[in-house]
């Protein structure tokens, strides 16, 4: 009985470890912007085909390890086309990405870019940092460099 239970747990936890990537519309991202469950939110816009996006992902992933649990919530929003979801899943699995990944399938870009940040041109990579308690935000429209996120998190907490 315990062996079956152990096997069951092993299968379910390994299934959970391989994260599900939802395909969402902008209203889901809007809900994320309003989510106050974590004090700091990091929302990164990327795509598997975007070289600088892929290059900076380890820097963003590192935040998960460095931050206290429940303090920083990281969401990686893929802008790959929805029919390429399997490519995104393979990429996430290969790179062992632990942050939550969603695929934003809302092709009328002009209708929501300004809702992320009015200064955003739409170029990726782009990263939004939110202090959900104070409303303070920082928006970076370029590839992140080593240490930059840590500095921005400190600044946004002030």
């Amino acid at each position: 009985m315990t062996r079956i239970l152990a096997l069951f747990l092993l299968v379910t936890t390994s299934a959970l470890a391989q994260q599900e990537i939802s395909i969402v519309k902008f209203n889901t991202v809007q809900k994320l912007l309003d989510d106050k469950s974590a004090p700091i939110q990091i929302i990164n816009f990327w795509a598997t085909w975007c070289a600088p996006c892929v290059k900076e992902l380890p820097l963003i992933e590192a935040i998960n390890e460095q931050s206290a649990e429940e303090e920083v919530k990281v969401t990686l929003i893929s802008l790959d086309f929805a029919d390429k979801i399997d490519k995104v899943k393979s990429f996430v699995k290969l790179k062992k990405i632990k942050s939550t990944v969603v695929l934003l399938d809302d092709i009328d870009y002009n209708s929501w870019i300004d809702k992320i940040d009015k200064e955003w041109s739409g170029a990726i990579p782009a990263t939004l940092l939110l202090n959900t308690k104070t409303g303070k935000r920082k928006f970076i429209e370029k590839e992140l460099v080593d240490g930059e996120l840590q500095t921005l998190i400190k600044e946004i907490k002030e």
């Binding site: 816009f45 085909w49 092709i107 870019i113 739409g122 170029a123």
Partner: protein, 205 residues
């Protein structure tokens, strides 16, 4: 009470300073642009002044490598086919640094233009000064220019349409609508849009 007054004053001062106009460098709709001279894939230098009989120009900051540029390639070619004869030719500019993006080297541009049978100039912005002057940010990025007393003014800035993935599903054809309006001497109703795209590969300083 005093704290609130200070906050209100600060807010008003900020509003006054930021008064709707972005401090980002680059042209805005209505600005008169400074002409430039850039090398075309055929080796010749091109300026906008060379388009003596044109009513305007559909200027597109583009590149060889970005998946969005590739998705829009046919539509860019169609824009030239449709509007060149009406006085609005397409002029494409590649400002990507080939050190960062080898696929955007001049030789690759020549190949790309040849392979796609470009009917329009494909210019290289080697020091990226034109892209910076315009405030181009990602590819493709369109600036519809209209001729005004020997100079060119910006009439539209932004995306080609509202569906990069599927041309037949695009129901807002921003560039076509802008050029059609200009050809009919009507105001451009949507003069600025944004789109997701590959950032221009700026040189490392």
């Amino acid at each position: 009470m005093k704290n609130s007054i200070v906050k209100i004053i600060l807010l008003l001062v900020t509003c006054f300073l930021v008064n709707g106009k972005s401090f980002k460098p680059g042209y805005d709709v209505g600005d008169t642009i400074t002409d430039f001279k850039l090398k075309n894939v055929d080796g010749k230098n091109i300026s906008l002044a060379d388009f003596e009989t044109a009513k305007g120009v559909i200027l597109i900051f583009d590149c060889n490598t970005c998946p969005y540029s590739k998705a829009y390639n046919d539509r860019i070619i169609s824009l030239d086919k449709k509007y060149s004869s009406q006085g609005f030719p397409v002029v494409a500019i590649n400002a990507n640094d080939p050190q960062i993006s080898p696929g955007d080297s001049f030789n690759e541009m020549v190949e790309h233009a040849k392979k796609n049978k470009y009917s329009f100039p494909y210019l290289v912005d080697e020091n990226q000064s034109v892209a910076k002057a315009f405030g181009a940010s990602n590819t493709p990025h369109v600036f519809v220019l209209v001729k005004h007393e020997q100079a060119f003014k910006v009439a539209y800035i932004g995306a080609i349409d509202n569906n990069v993935r599927d041309a037949s599903s695009a129901d807002k054809k921003y560039v076509e609508d802008a050029v059609d309006a200009l050809l009919q001497n009507k105001p451009v109703t949507t003069s600025k849009t944004k789109a997701i795209g590959c950032g221009i590969k700026w040189k490392n300083s």
